[in-house]
Point group: C2
Chain length 572, copies 2
């Protein structure tokens, strides 16, 4: 396997054999290690010393394995000022894996202007001028690149928000079905890091790459088959399961029921318009209009949780419409029209901003009367400001923490400078623990406790730290291997299955203990990076307002004791 080093100072690409210390790492684990080893943790995220890393997981690029092609993107975050890994489904992870690429590491910054794209094939890689794409949205960018390079390439790109250096900018990835840039490694402003490197897009073509070698083909194929079978036969991920039938939106019912659905800038936890945007409604509307439900983002995925949301004329608005977006751009803005939310989502995707971060910013703007709760037009007008790069637009695009500070608000839903996803931590306290303690800031994918609501009271403090710690480990395992969160049940139920997949592929002779060790290493490495960057336990806290202001309808506050929060990592 190889690493591709892209030097933006000299506009050179260089193939490197993988350093021994990076060899057994993939995805998020590799990103953590490279960042801790190679960049000054105190560097400015948009300065020349930061690096932007694209790393598929350890199990990417194998057509016989389902749901393992997520692409990890990483760097020091301009939003949190800490370490960041964000990942996305779509085509890119598997294609990079298939090319035998451990990582693409983008370094430096061009001293002159200009915008570039990186073309990667089995024959080599080259930086090409991309000035003609300057300022284009992700959809048009992708359309032009597909015209030039064909439909079968994976495209990773940024929109105007990334070019503008907005800290809410994400990195878009095309999906396998619609070939549109609807998947986003959205969180933490990595799109701005890409923009600071003057890199508009990656075009990844694995057409001529040979199949990847397998160390123990029989073990690998047996394990991959069992993995797929268990997913297909599961009542959750199988054909009749909620994940296939509803996708991520399936979770909205439970979240609303426990009173944790962000509503009007996190001022309430149940939304009166819930019925209009819930999972069953989205499915009904989509199918009635000729949209699609149960489509894949990665080739060969057996779960197929995605949807293609269309308008009344059957024209695609966005694919895929997801729970976090419905929460942040929907209930959090008091908007209960799926069409309106889908249109806001498309504009966010096109601009290349995180729909979670932007939804939180817009909620704050509404709280400050710059737009009206429930009024999608006024929300759209604010997105227009972001597009135009006005001062207000730049405030919003720089995320919820900056927006809340500029507007002088108190209830600012952020941890470590990053907006809360669609679970209010006062009613789902385990997620509050994750937001507060994860090196990533408020990421639901870093350790989402909603699935444990029936065994551990989401409104209580008891057991939340341990719950979060365990789920943070699981997240690390998934993010280092490239597995989708939805595909976790078989490997969580039997970690030996994950070990067999890794050993089948690489022959490392891992045990379950090695795997657990690897998980803990990821979490510790990230935390060590943040420690060197200047973070302490004082930052492992949520904003005061969430401990003070009770959340209707249960009127609870976030009251997990500091000592409990501190125990998450001290007991690791």
């Amino acid at each position: 396997m190889k690493t591709l080093r892209v030097n933006m100072d000299r506009l050179e690409v260089k193939w490197e054999s993988v350093l021994p210390e990076y060899e057994r790492l993939g995805g998020r684990a590799l990103i953590a290690k490279i960042l801790l080893t190679e960049i000054p943790p105190q560097c400015e995220p948009l300065g020349p010393d930061n690096k932007l890393i694209f790393a598929p997981g350890l199990l990417a690029g194998l057509p016989s394995l389902t749901s393992a092609g997520r692409l990890s993107v990483g760097g020091k975050s301009p939003l949190t000022q800490g370490i960041k890994e964000a990942n996305a489904g779509g085509m890119a992870g598997d294609k990079l894996g298939h090319l035998g690429l451990k990582a693409i590491v983008v370094e430096g910054q061009p001293t002159e202007g200009g915008l570039y794209l990186l073309h990667v094939t089995a024959q080599g890689a080259s930086l090409l001028p991309a000035d003609q794409l300057s300022g284009l949205g992700n959809y048009e960018t992708v359309a032009r690149l597909q015209e030039r390079f064909g439909q079968d390439v994976a495209i990773v790109s940024i929109g105007p928000a990334g070019e503008m250096g907005l800290a809410g900018a994400g990195v878009a990835v095309t999906d396998d079905l619609t070939k549109q840039p609807g998947r986003q490694a959205a969180r933490g402003g990595l799109g701005a890091v890409m923009g600071s490197k003057r890199l508009k897009a990656l075009v990844i073509d694995d057409a001529d790459a040979p199949p990847l070698p397998l160390s123990d083909e029989s073990l690998f194929r047996r394990s991959a088959k069992r993995f797929a079978r268990e997913l297909i036969e599961s009542p959750k991920t199988g054909k009749e399961g909620s994940m296939h039938r509803f996708g991520t939106v399936a979770v909205m019912g439970p979240v609303n029921e426990i009173g944790a659905l962000p509503t009007r800038n996190f001022s309430a936890g149940q939304f009166e318009g819930f019925e209009n945007i819930c999972a069953t409604r989205m499915r009904e509307v989509t199918l009635a209009r000729g949209g699609q439900i149960g489509v894949r983002c990665m080739a060969g995925c057996v779960i197929r949780c995605c949807n293609v949301f269309v308008d009344e004329q059957g024209e695609t608005i966005v694919s895929t419409l997801q729970y976090e977006t419905l929460g942040l751009l929907g209930s959090n803005l008091g908007i209960d029209s799926l069409d309106d939310i889908a249109r806001l989502n498309r504009v966010c995707n096109d601009l290349g901003v995180d729909s979670i971060e932007m939804g939180a910013s817009l909620g704050l703007a509404m709280e400050a009367d710059l737009a009206q709760f429930g009024d999608a037009k006024s929300a759209m007008a604010l997105l227009e400001q972001v597009k135009e790069g006005t001062v207000l637009g730049r405030v919003l695009g720089n995320g919820a923490a900056v927006t809340g500070r500029v507007l002088g608000l108190e209830r600012i839903p952020v941890a470590r400078g990053q907006a809360f996803p669609a679970y209010d931590p006062r009613a789902l306290k385990g997620n509050g623990v994750t937001y507060a303690t994860s090196a990533m800031g408020a990421d639901h994918t870093a350790g989402n406790t909603i699935g444990a609501r029936k065994t551990i009271d989401p409104l209580g403090c008891e057991g939340q730290a341990e719950l979060s710690r365990g789920l943070q480990r699981v997240a690390a395992m998934l993010d280092m291997t490239g597995l989708c969160l939805f595909a976790r049940p078989p490997v969580v139920a039997d970690p030996q299955l994950m070990v067999d997949l890794i050993n089948g592929r690489y022959g490392w002779g891992w045990t379950v203990k090695s795997l657990e060790q690897a998980e803990d290493d990821v979490l510790r490495t990230e935390r060590e990076f943040n420690r060197r960057a200047g973070f302490t336990e004082a930052h492992d806290r949520l904003p005061e307002a969430f401990s003070r202001e009770p959340l209707p309808p249960h009127n609870t506050v976030f009251d997990v004791p500091d000592a409990e929060l501190d125990s998450v990592f001290s007991a690791l």
Copy 2:
């Protein structure tokens, strides 16, 4: 002596005897101790758990002692998120001292709306409604309060910026000559903390207060007399001295000469318009127009460094026009008209924003083409936005760090989130050490090395850490006793003189060693507060751009090694 506790939750005032652990502390030292003891260091600066403290120095309120009436204001800073003490001359410090007040500690926040003023006399204190002052500038606020309470009271107030909660808001103090709110405890956003407590003003009336007791009257009077004589006879602070003849502006020549004068958003260190705004020019213009030079801000001051700057008709524009303002609102904006700078200064004073912070914000706005360097009208238009509370105005008013981040700039002149005063750290590296390491962020008053430029090369790294450490100690001594920086030479030359003054007043039997111990305690207590608030050595650094981008004309960068920076406190 007593402490006045003002509870804004219950709108109650309470007199308290001074706690034993606070007894030997004054001004900045007392503030540091109270904040570390009484507030959660991680609290939100504009939330109910922060406290706002007004504390005169140990030697305030004694008519026989000159230049010792500076008022310290303190709290957790909304600008730096760390501990903050800012002090100002004017009438308030001496009057509080004369009233036997160790400190006024303002706690909590009203749950309902409403604005209040605190009236303090020798008979007692009361909170009075002040809704009629809502939104008024400092000048009109003071005029109305003088109409009601007379000209002899001291007034401490905030303008609209403080009411709006802008992190660049300061606290204004009336001076002894013009009785105008031209003195500001400007730095760190304490005006916003005052606004968050809904406290518009303090009115301090010491008319009926008896003289303060002296423990050893003869020692005190002898020492005070010697202190005054040395100041009067000094070639620097005496009648023919530059401090009396030019005030703080005297320093502009040396700063421009060494190439450290902020010019056009810190892009150069010498200003081509220097001759038009320098000390001699200001003196000439002021005297020719019938303005005043050599006036006092505190009663009985023998140095009298202030000026009353007037327009061509002889009408007062502002008093006093100071060096930092000329640097930040002048050369830093490319503006070389004293009239223009004085008018911008007056608007800042009236709004109640720090002219340093605002000058840095405006410089960044000019860099981003929201106004033009050299064009005072466009700068004034931006101040108008602050006044109106537009989004752009709120960005600017929240300070340089937020402004630079929102506008996507690289060269953002801040340390710990607070704007650099008028000494570029690349050409006066000792000040860079102070900016980086002081718990206060970039305060020139925390340890200004300009006076040492002839003994220690300001462009070199050698000796800067030690120099800064020594000056930070001196600053602590001055700020705990209420002495003006300009009055330091006699007590720096002979610390026993300071010890005699303290022993004459209190009879504590201090030695020079006790005094040095007290200085170090201040610095350590402040640093400990910040440590608990989440600061580490990673924060003791200047922004990358200042280490990367050479400063004309000497083309040096800030390159004091990290280990040197860390030695400032490790060797304390």
